[in-house]
């Protein structure tokens, strides 16, 4: 199953590198969101000195931007498969359909992590915020959180891919589930890391990790049935 999953992920990444459509859109979108936050903070009189000292404002900005950009990316997870009905050729492969899930998870997770790192960079440039030097732990949380978001998002994208309202349906399916399993725990964990609360961060990491396991296991179990007709 892993051989087929890797083949799918590799093909997706080759197509992404060739067209750069999805990645470029996500980078631009996250830049715009970061700038919008920056200007709105200025507007409300939250100035640089306060921003630099506030370890509670940055985590929501960081995660909101990552989640927005990742949701944008998830909208197109199956779009290349819809062209020329390539999805049928994937479904005709003599392999478990969970291979398609794992392949799409890998090919979504890699650009999401890259985007998350870009967002971190944008925050450091435009706010400016030095993450109290905790770049590695925050990057680790971004890796874990984006994995969980991708693990849920690929299944939600598969469910919504056949709908004409997929742009609306995807966030409607995803956000309520992701909110208390990935997004809020990720924000809390990032705040805890920036406030040097290791025990608090560990508790949140456990929630995110458990959510990741549940999303992957459930998705692999149900993915076969999503394509039944």
């Amino acid at each position: 199953m892993m051989k087929e999953a890797i083949a799918i992920a590799r093909k997706d990444l080759v197509l992404e590198v060739r067209s750069k459509e999805r990645f470029a859109a996500m980078v631009l979108f996250s830049l715009v969101v970061v700038l919008a936050f920056r200007f709105s903070f200025d507007l409300f009189g939250i100035h640089e000195q306060r921003l630099a000292e506030s370890h509670f404002l940055i985590p929501p900005v960081l995660w909101a931007t990552v989640v927005f950009a990742a949701t944008l990316g998830l909208l197109t997870v199956f779009s290349k498969e819809e062209e020329n009905r390539c999805i049928d050729a994937l479904l005709l492969a003599p392999a478990p359909r969970s291979a398609l899930y794992v392949g799409k998870l890998i090919s979504s997770f890699i650009p999401f992590v890259a985007i998350a790192m870009f967002v971190m960079g944008f925050l450091a440039i435009f706010f400016p915020y030095d993450f109290r030097g905790q770049y590695l732990p925050v990057a680790g949380l971004l890796v874990l959180g984006t994995f969980g978001y991708a693990a849920l998002g690929v299944t939600a994208a598969a469910v919504s891919s056949t709908s004409r309202m997929r742009e609306v349906l995807l966030p409607v399916i995803m956000i309520p589930i992701a909110l208390f399993t990935i997004i809020v725990p990720s924000i809390n964990a990032t705040s805890d890391v920036l406030n040097s609360d290791a025990a608090g961060a560990l508790g949140e990491v456990r929630v995110i990790a458990l959510s990741c396991v549940i999303f992957v296991v459930v998705s692999m179990l149900v993915f076969d049935y999503l394509w039944e007709a």
Partner: protein, 237 residues
């Protein structure tokens, strides 16, 4: 000898609409079966059920002895499909498409095998070209090469002659005869009774999801078959 394809009492419904009703047939090695009928007769639905893309509402379909519901992966291993949309990635080259699908179908072709396959469909010279740059007929040949990657026993072909010129149609016919000659079976759909008659060993006219007429092609002259077809379809083919 085991039938390559065995269909018993097959029905498929979409809600209240019955797309296929009580289809019974079997195809042995070397046979080419053509399904004809007007739009909406159930031809493509039949191919999709046999290919495992759709689940039968009732009845059974088995490919080389493997039931498409009970053992779909084994059945898929024995099927090659060329559908109307070709199922190829426009932004990948011919070679990349075939290598990818080869990996996916557990039959990653070696370079000589890939070249031989492309030679067979007459596209070796376009190996490094992207699919988007090929004509419809060429895309169909790449799709045919993809369908042959896993050395199938059963080839499913939806409207194979649509958009092909006479020479390309003749080439395709001889390819399909060659495939059937190597003890494979072909199940194809067509709108053209003359073309189907010239190729298939058995002809089925579908109407409203049912087999309205089954005809062994060598026993029925083409004009008589065209007449029967017009009668069922209710117009000029």
């Amino acid at each position: 000898m085991t039938a390559v394809l065995e269909i018993r009492g097959l029905s498929k419904s979409f809600g209240q609409r019955k797309a296929l009703q009580g289809i019974d047939l079997s195809a042995g090695p070397g046979e080419i079966l053509a399904f004809l009928g007007p739009n909406g007769a159930g031809k493509t639905t039949l191919l999709k059920v046999v290919s495992t893309l759709l689940t039968p509402t009732s009845g059974s379909v088995s490919v080389d002895g493997f039931d498409v519901v009970e053992a779909p992966e084994e059945a898929r291993r024995r099927i090659g499909c060329v559908f109307h949309d070709f199922m190829l990635y426009d932004d990948l080259t011919v070679e990349e498409n075939l290598t990818f699908f080869g990996r996916l179908y557990g039959a990653r072709p070696s370079v000589p095998k890939l070249d031989a396959l492309l030679e067979r469909v007459g596209l070796l010279h376009r190996k490094v070209d992207r699919i988007a740059t090929l004509s419809r007929g060429m895309k169909q040949r790449v799709a045919l090469a993809r369908a042959m990657l896993n050395s199938p026993r059963l080839l499913l072909f939806d409207e194979p002659f649509t958009g092909l010129d006479e020479a390309a149609a003749e080439t395709l016919k001889s390819f399909l005869r060659g495939f059937a000659g190597s003890s494979g079976s072909v199940l194809l759909t067509s709108h053209d009774p003359r073309l189907a008659h010239s190729l298939a060993s058995r002809l089925f006219i579908l109407s409203q999801g049912k087999v309205a007429k089954e005809v062994p092609s060598e026993r029925v002259p083409v004009e008589s078959f065209v007449h029967d077809f017009r009668e069922v379809v209710g117009g000029l083919p």
